[in-house]
């Protein structure tokens, strides 16, 4: 059981949740994730850790309402308990001084990107961050990103904030302007696919953090498997970060859709029940 200590909405469907989880807070490094489960009948879902405070013993998650479990999580208030939280899981990001690092985040992928941006900056790199969202109100963590980035470029699909266009446009602008030594991309699979194609054109080493379906999160079930460099890898123990140029994003997208119909039906049913209760 982990108590919710703080909760703050970034937009209608995205909120930051601060959990009381002292052991995880102490052990966690950038790139790590947790698995959470709500209630006895809940499912286990992975969520990447956005930040932690080892002294206060807290872990911060940024959650977007997309289905039953994320909705249940955001329905909890400060003082409520999350039934199960386990972690930190996965391999930590390999942070070193490489020169200039181009970080690109899309949607709630910006949250797990934050500790990586911070890490690379503190390791002495020049860090340029591209944040992409559909429109202005979905841009999150801009202030925090500015704190650790030499430059922040905002891209929105509808042009309501920053520049109009996709994340790749902002990335290319930087790449054409200056030498980039490493790129890290986190966001929806489709965004990471095209971001990886962009950096591949310029031969820039790129890491992507994959957010696949998981059950146990400890290497036991294989639900998270995806082909990387022609070999099947388990995102939970081999990842979540991989060489983005080797990831088979089309396979990952296909596997993410495995339960699409069931998930949609379950969410509709959940929303209906919620309405009746309310």
């Amino acid at each position: 059981m982990s108590k919710i200590l703080e909760k703050e909405y970034f937009s209608k469907n995205v909120a930051k949740i601060v959990l009381d989880a002292p052991e995880i807070a102490k052990s966690r490094k950038p790139g790590h994730f947790v698995i959470i489960k709500i209630g006895d009948k809940g499912e286990r879902i992975p969520l990447t850790i956005a930040s932690s405070d080892p002294e206060k013993g807290t872990v911060t998650l940024v959650v977007q309402k997309v289905g039953v479990t994320s909705d249940k999580l955001l329905a909890l208030e400060v003082g409520d308990e999350v039934t199960d939280v386990v972690g930190p899981l996965g391999e930590a990001t390999h942070i070193e001084n490489v020169g200039t690092v181009l970080c690109a985040g899309g949607g709630v992928g910006v949250a797990p990107l934050l500790p990586i941006v911070e890490g690379f900056k503190k390791a002495g790199n020049r860090v340029i961050t591209v944040l992409a969202a559909r429109s202005k109100d979905l841009v999150i963590l801009e202030e925090q990103m500015r704190e650790f980035s030499d430059e922040v470029i905002i891209m929105t699909d509808d042009g309501t904030y920053g520049k109009k266009g996709l994340v790749t446009l902002g990335m290319e602008e930087v790449i054409q302007r200056e030498k980039v030594n490493l790129s890290v991309v986190i966001g929806p699979a489709i965004m990471m696919k095209f971001a990886a194609l962009t950096t591949k054109k310029y031969n820039i080493k790129t890491y992507a953090s994959l957010n696949t379906i998981m059950v146990d999160g400890t290497g036991m079930c294989g639900a998270c498997r995806v082909e990387v460099g022609g070999k099947t890898k388990f995102v939970c123990v081999d990842g979540p970060e991989f060489n983005a140029h080797e990831v088979d994003f089309d396979q990952m997208l296909m596997r993410l859709g495995a339960y699409k119909d069931q998930e949609y039906a379950a969410y509709q049913k959940y929303l209906e029940t919620e309405e009746t209760v309310a």
Partner: protein, 496 residues
Amino acid sequence: MENIAEYLKAERSQEWRDEVRKSMKTKLRLEKVRVQMSEEDPNVRNTNNIEVNTGLSVEEAVLEAQRCIDCPTPTCMTGCPVGINIPKFVKKIETEDFLGAAAVLKDTNGLPAVCGRVCPQEKQCEAQCFYTIKLGKPAVAIGHLERFAADFEQKSGQIAIPEVAKSNKIKLGVVGSGPAGLAASGDLAKFGYDVTVFEALHEIGGVLKYGIPEFRLPNDVVDVEIESLKQMGVKFRTNFIVGKTASFEDLKEDGFKAFFVGSGAGLPRFMNIPGENYNGIFSSNEYLTRVNLMNAANPEYDTPVHSGKLVAVIGGGNTAMDSVRTAKRLGADRSMIIYRRSEAEMPARLEEVKHAKEEGIEFMNLHNPLEYYADDKGMVKSMKVQKMELGEPDSSGRRRPIAIEGSEFILEVDTVVVSVGVSPNPIVPAALPKLEITDWGTIVVDKDTMQSTTIPEIFAGGDIVRGGATVILAMGDGRKAAAGMHKYIQEKIKAN
């Protein structure tokens, strides 16, 4: 060994044992026919989760116990990985002292109700029974009797909690709450240690909960055994991954003096054939975890599972049988085993194969998958299968399957469960770089004490050492390791 022989002799010559032996002529005992375990109707049980074996009645158990002739040298015991005093518990049943029988079981086995259900007795105790080796007749039904005594105790409400030595306040950690960890923690608690079991999942029990289905091992049965351990003072922490949530160093700073690692099977193996990552193709670990641990088949639970009408399960072990029978229960029209060798080579328990056949499982033995095909959404729709024949024995002693060229055909499927084994869990070896591991990723230990060859305070057993084993072998390891840890700690105390 001599000590054990003498101890058994002394036990056997106790007055009550003499009386029981004399109460019936051996000839009469030998004439009796082995009891048949009654079972739920196959065509009813394959639609629900009710336990298949219903258990022996009191009368049946006593009659079966009478078959045992209480041999002077009980060879059956040589087949038991945890060294249960088999004739003693069987004779307790004959005298209708069922709680006494359960107590004998619990002397050496913390989970008798589990073992009575899932042990491959036909390869262990019953394979070494006098009836089997000398008479060529069906063995005394030791497994059924074990389950009977354990169930009797569970239902009696008078569950005996094993005696625990006075607390020595020495903290020991157990990594993993599967059969190896539970067995180790029970013995360590008896020695008086302050034992904490760390479990990665949200439930205690490891493979007994996520792997073995309810129809073969009800969760309630496991929970009663876990409750006994709690009563003995064993502490449990769920959602705690040693090596991740906290390091071994962190725990040592926290006062833990030694660890038993029973972290079990990790990465499921796949065959690395084309199309294996299509949707609808699972490892047996994933399929069974969704259904058993997460209750995915129950619409009240949030976890989904894809279980179709045409299900192929690849493999011939117990996990394959569990998966294929689960698929049937979830409504499959065809539940098929695809196994590359013949039935004679199947590693599954005989009883599981028998039950599977009764329930309408199709066995496509001597068949091997080559490739999977999917629809435009990436959902598996068919597979290419090749027929096999048996050649010369291979390194495992089993006849090697050889592909028959030109025998390939397409089989329509909508769900595939790959059950061809697992590799050891990588988390503990990754957290302890100094730990000696094999090329397979298993931890290298001394086979008598189960102590790591390179880190003295680490002991290990079960699948993390064996690669893939049975519940009872894991428990045997846990018990050996507990003895090894006790010796290690006591020697350290003396040295200081």
